[in-house]
Symmetry: C2
Subunit: 259 residues, 2 copies
């Protein structure tokens, strides 16, 4: 938190507490816009012309008051007594999220996860274009993954610059993540989606979002344990004198290649 480098704060806050500039859409609302968009797109495909806040909220898995409040930050796009025009709302939300433009991304680290992401259909359909797949393992170079040749990480800087890549996806092992991140940032990337289980340090102005399998599972385990505890009842049995064994060891490798 010193040195002019900021460290991502909570698991997923991006850089911005800054009520995101302009009119200022709250972070919690921004995080839900993609959910609404997905539900709306499904309605659009079924040629449903309009939808009420109640229906759309149910489809997106939120309550309707929250949805209306969220939409109120975007403007008044509904019609009282009627609902929202599906197509129009799809467009407005897409525009708000920046999905009406082209976003070239690079994926660094082409292990199983990198593969999975490269093949992910949700990419292309939302304005995200895979500009390159990069891996530190020269043996992978040239190999086709999802129709694209894997290229060596030596080419990272050149690709980021020439393709004007502003978003980088890191699927390397944790040990390589910070270094890859530094290089991406130095080359001009200002948003990073990090799948490596590491805290990345980035300069101000760079957003980092983190996806962490292990953390999600641990949170589930916590709740699962509490459910089981309903039967046992945790009679606040105090702390055993000795820490004992059972200490969890860190063996966090998400992928094998790259760096």
């Amino acid at each position: 938190m010193a040195t002019g480098r900021s460290t991502q704060n909570n698991p997923n806050a991006a850089a911005s507490n800054r009520r995101s500039r302009g009119r200022g859409i709250p972070d919690a609302t921004v995080a839900r816009l993609p959910l609404y968009l997905r539900a709306l797109t499904a309605l659009s495909e079924r040629s449903v012309p309009t939808v009420s806040s109640e229906e759309l909220a149910a489809a997106a898995g939120v309550n309707s008051a929250k949805l209306r409040k969220d939409f109120s930050y975007l403007g008044s796009y509904g019609t009282r007594g009627v609902g929202y025009d599906v197509e129009y709302l799809v467009y407005q939300i897409s525009r708000e999220l920046g999905l009406t433009q082209d976003w070239p991304v690079v994926i660094v680290g082409i292990g199983n996860l990198g593969h999975a992401l490269a093949n992910y259909g949700g990419f292309a359909s939302r304005g995200f274009r895979v500009a390159a797949l990069l891996d530190a393992d020269a043996a992978l170079s040239g190999q086709l993954v999802a129709g694209l040749p894997v290229r060596h990480t030596d080419e990272m800087e050149e690709i980021v610059r020439s393709e004007r890549v502003s978003i980088g996806v890191i699927t390397t092992p944790p040990g390589a993540a910070q270094q890859v991140c530094d290089r991406l940032v130095a080359a001009g990337v200002t948003s990073i989606l990090n799948f490596a289980p590491t805290v990345l340090n980035v300069p101000d102005g760079v957003d980092v979002r983190k996806v962490d399998l292990s953390i999600e599972l641990q949170i589930l385990a916590f709740h699962e344990q509490r459910k089981a505890g309903d039967d046992l009842d945790d009679a606040d049995q105090e702390v055993p004198a000795t820490p004992s064994a059972a200490v969890v060891s860190e063996g966090t490798e998400l992928e094998e290649a790259a760096g």
Copy 2:
């Protein structure tokens, strides 16, 4: 929101607003415990005996006031003027998260992502044991992935029951996710980690957490756009009369198999 089925609320809330029972640890704190645990485990491996809230907070990427507040929900495990005993804290957090017990999980849908998860080292090291890999494609049955044979989804119910699986990971295409979810829940699974881009409906008492690639990227794009907007300055140019084209289409496939 009717029928006794609850729908997961925000992207990642699990079922519990219930200040998680007992002493009641806030959800935001629970979500950070794995981060602290990771940082502590790294210190433990370097044989660091004690750590201050300031140091640990920096390593975990949070501020120290938040960390101390978080720890205060667990108990008073520090020593004023000294800091926290690393090993002891690792043990306490592990215990709190339920990681000192064995959690058998099944992964349903063995495409690239299922592969990546099966190979994920962070699993085994934290008490999570892959009890089975399941896929609806019979052609995959018997094939070894991460040393385990893929089994047909027909065996799902039997495996969940016999292995006492309470956590299921869904990496199927979106179309199959709800059905797979229903079967898992019917068989006894009470926590689900969903990678398919679908809102899952589950009965009360079942926790769902969602990991969604596309959503994370869209949130990054939003912030990225705002950064660019600093130059252009969005002079509140009002809504174009016609929605126009550029409508984003839904082609969300995360994987190919299963269901």
